[in-house]
Subunit: 147 residues, 3 copies
């Protein structure tokens, strides 16, 4: 994060900014429609996710199994994952480091509710066809600030 | 939506992404300030809106009449329409297909509340002066996902 | 605002849109991590802020003192400042006028809550190194619309 917060990081172009935003818009359409296999395809084969509770999946098969296990809590509700305050930096190996806030809105029979907010740090890479995929994702639950 | 979700859709440039975002920022400033005529001007003369409840308006006169009828529920509160996870695709006829999530925050005497979340599919076209206008809008209330 | 709402305002390029979004993403990471000095550095030396309650700070020293005084209400909670519906216009003196909606999400021991929504009007300028800084900020609490 210290790199991301440094103003001296090379500025992402408008084209890259739009491409990254579109990548997440497609990835989250799949997550929110519970298209688990389609969602997993937006990660690299060996994509890793570290959840806020410390849980971790490595590779698409584990990711799909973990998402299937969480399915019951998403049935009967409609979920929208919102991303905000996106920061993009170009990493030394050509990958992209992307940091963003998340807000998750859920419409159920009792109306709209929100899940806890998170801050996420992704590493995105290009597949051989040039499309972006998520290689790693670290999800941090926003904790109280202590000074 | 299937086209929008397909990675093979031509990537919107950064300039187009910024232009579309600015179009919506202006359109929603007008909606949120209850400038009904100004809002209607951001649609084409024959602009159509299909609401989540199935209601439909065709053309600016109907749109203005329908908005006037809904005015009482917006008086005394302050409304912010937020758009997220925007997806832009270029359609065959040169129009733009744009899909986005909406979150509507309202500040009233009892504090902040939220309307239900929606997913919206717009078709935007350019007027003779080159400015974007909304030709059609389909608003879908996010329903529970059933598998 | 009338200028911002006018379609004839020169369109911000994708590069500028991405740069301004990244500027705010960094500025708000500092605010939300209670890095008061780092936050103040994103303003010009003589930067002015007019708060929604009419309070006003002029210059970094006053800004830092005012933020220190407000610190207790941010301790023990985690804050995310979200910005939306961003509008950018180029002002006559080369500065940028930027208008946006804000949504402030706070995670505390009792879960997620939201502060009132605001509309903010900023003037951004470039420092000698070419980086953006905020020269002035006017924060308006969204009030009920009366016609």
């Amino acid at each position: 994060m210290s790199q991301v917060l440094n103003n001296s990081v090379a500025q992402a172009t408008g084209d890259l900014y739009a491409e990254v935003q579109a990548f997440y818009a497609r990835q989250m359409r799949r997550a929110d429609s519970l298209d688990i296999e389609g969602f997993a395809e937006t990660f690299t084969d060996d994509g890793e996710v570290v959840h806020a509770d410390g849980g971790r999946t490595a590779g698409r098969a584990e990711m799909i199994a973990a998402m299937r296990a969480r399915l019951p809590r998403y049935e009967g509700v409609s979920t929208q994952h919102w991303f905000g305050q996106l920061l993009i930096e170009r990493l030394a190996d050509g990958a992209l480091g992307v940091s963003y806030y998340t807000l998750v809105a859920q419409m159920g029979e009792e109306g709209l509710s929100f899940q806890p907010t998170y801050t996420v740090d992704d590493v995105l890479v290009r597949d051989p066809g040039g499309s972006l995929r998520t290689r790693s994702r670290i999800i941090r639950r926003s904790g109280p600030v202590r000074r």
